[in-house]
């Protein structure tokens, strides 16, 4: 695969752009593979990439029912951060963030990662105390965090409502300067190109309809394009995790919920960081095209519909208006819904299952995008060695039976509240 470079751009400019080739091979399925990864989103593709690159496992297929990156990878608000309270989460997401920082270089593909900072607003004394605690916990895990007072927040984001009549007066905020955003499509394409280049087969328009079970293990996957044998099978199917796992007779601590997101018409530069509002639930950033990209809570009921309802649209819009009154005249361009596989403790499941050669990567709740890098990195390790990496060992499926839950928010087994 020819590398992308400035020199090549210039050469192609004089060559009528005739030298470009497809970024990855659209492969036909072979009879069998060492590893079959179900799901061609960011997580599946990054798993395949790191399997081939770091572990030398190149006889790998990524099977996708639609087109790559067409699921939740393309349906999120692209926020990247590692500002977690609990050490298991903080260390894992910090590893993800470190991979993001060098990803464009690593893939030779511009994923447009931008460390524009993630600012959590505090709207009460209690919230300031909670953020001081979280910021200190992050620092103990070796992660940058800064507690800002009201004036510092005001200098950073002057458009916020600092008037005396503000519905939610701003007390300060917790800033993670290294957090930011990336271009989600580019992440899928970059990983696909990197994996394909190392010999991974990316098989699109191929839906898994069953898992062929042996006595205690899986022999392969039944798909709409025939049976594909596999020594090991990894699931990375986001909102459909419960359904694919059910093909192997597994029942998971997961509920699927719908989360809506929104983008406005393009504005001139308005917001150069990511702002989140924890007193309600709202997060916003500005895309490189100028659109304001924002979202809020789940719709709060189980759903596979990939679309939400009006009450949550109103709720999100009113939260946005209370923070940024000047956004009032801005028109919404698009809204969409994604299916979130919400776990019972709000943390993902990455690791082994009761079935010997079946591995699971799911339960990303509504925080999967930022984990795309590290999720594939630890899942590749797990698939290659058969054992979890220390970074994903706490995220085992059996933690629900053993009681070692990772409930960052402390919400209990109500997945729609995480």
């Amino acid at each position: 695969m020819p590398r992308y470079s400035a020199l090549r751009l210039i050469r192609e400019a004089f060559n009528r752009q005739s030298g470009w080739t497809p970024a990855w091979r659209d492969a036909e399925p072979k009879a069998g593979y060492d590893v079959v990864i179900v799901g061609g989103g960011g997580h599946g593709l990054s798993t395949a990439y790191y399997l081939a690159k770091l572990h030398g496992v190149r006889n790998v297929a990524v099977i996708e029912k639609g087109w790559i990156g067409g699921g939740n990878t393309g349906r999120n608000t692209t926020i990247i951060r590692s500002n977690y309270l609990l050490p298991e989460n903080a260390l894992f997401y910090e590893h993800c963030l470190k991979l993001w920082e060098t990803l464009s270089l690593d893939l030779n593909f511009n994923v447009m990662f931008s460390s524009r900072g993630v600012l959590n607003l505090a709207n009460s004394d209690a919230q300031m105390d909670a953020y001081a605690r979280r910021g200190n916990a992050m620092r103990l895990s070796g992660i940058d965090s800064e507690l800002l007072d009201r004036d510092q927040v005001r200098r950073m984001v002057p458009h916020l409502d600092f008037s005396p009549s503000a519905r939610f007066p701003i007390y300060g905020g917790l800033l993670q300067p290294r957090g930011g955003t990336a271009r989600h499509d580019a992440v899928a394409w970059g990983y696909a190109r990197g994996a394909s280049d190392l010999g991974v087969d990316i098989i699109q328009n191929c839906e898994v309809v069953g898992l062929r079970m042996g006595s205690a293990h899986i022999e392969g996957v039944e798909t709409t394009r025939g049976f594909i044998a596999a020594d090991r099978v990894g699931l990375a199917v986001a909102g459909r995790t419960s359904q694919v796992a059910a093909m192997a007779g597994l029942k998971l601590p997961i509920e699927s919920h719908v989360l809506q997101a929104f983008v406005s018409e393009a504005l001139k530069p308005f917001l150069d960081t990511v702002v989140t509002f924890g007193a309600g639930h709202f997060y916003i950033s500005q895309s490189d095209k100028g659109g304001m990209v924002f979202g809020g809570d789940l719709d709060f009921y189980n759903s596979y519909a990939s679309r939400g309802n009006m009450p949550m649209v109103e709720d999100v819009a009113s939260a946005g208006m209370s923070l940024f009154p000047s956004l009032g005249p801005v028109r919404l361009l698009r809204s969409w819904g994604g299916i979130m596989d919400m776990t019972m403790d709000g943390s993902p499941i990455i690791g082994r299952t009761p079935i010997e050669n079946l591995y699971i990567n799911g339960g990303w709740c509504y925080g999967g995008f930022k984990a795309t890098t590290g999720s594939g990195w630890v899942f590749a390790h797990t698939l290659a060695t058969g054992e979890p990496h220390p970074l994903n060992a706490p995220f085992s499926l059996d933690r629900f039976a053993t009681g070692r839950l990772i409930d960052d928010k402390g919400s209990g087994p109500y997945p729609w509240r995480h």
Partner: protein, 88 residues
């Protein structure tokens, strides 16, 4: 979504608070741990019809057991939750 509360009639779902899977049955205190695991954490999470509890908070305040299709949001049935449902 309009939920047909048996007492109040068709009402916007914003009047209700969601309380999850209606078919869960609380095990006996001395039941095996596997049963408690199933009750507390494991869910069928179907993509078709799902029986679930909605608490009519801004209405009659009764719990309503609603059968709703997960992929279309179509509401197929609604009745008062009996004592067999979970308490929320």
């Amino acid at each position: 979504m309009l939920i047909h509360c048996p007492f109040c009639g068709a009402r916007d779902h914003a009047e209700f608070s969601y309380a999850g899977d209606a078919r869960l049955k609380r095990p006996a205190p001395d039941a095996p741990e596997a049963e408690w695991l199933d009750y507390a954490y494991q869910r069928d999470n179907p993509s078709g019809p799902h029986e679930e509890l909605w608490h009519h908070v801004y209405g009659c305040r009764r719990h309503v057991a609603v059968t709703r299709h997960m992929s279309t949001h179509e509401i197929l049935a609604a009745r008062f939750a009996g004592t067999s449902g979970v308490e929320s």
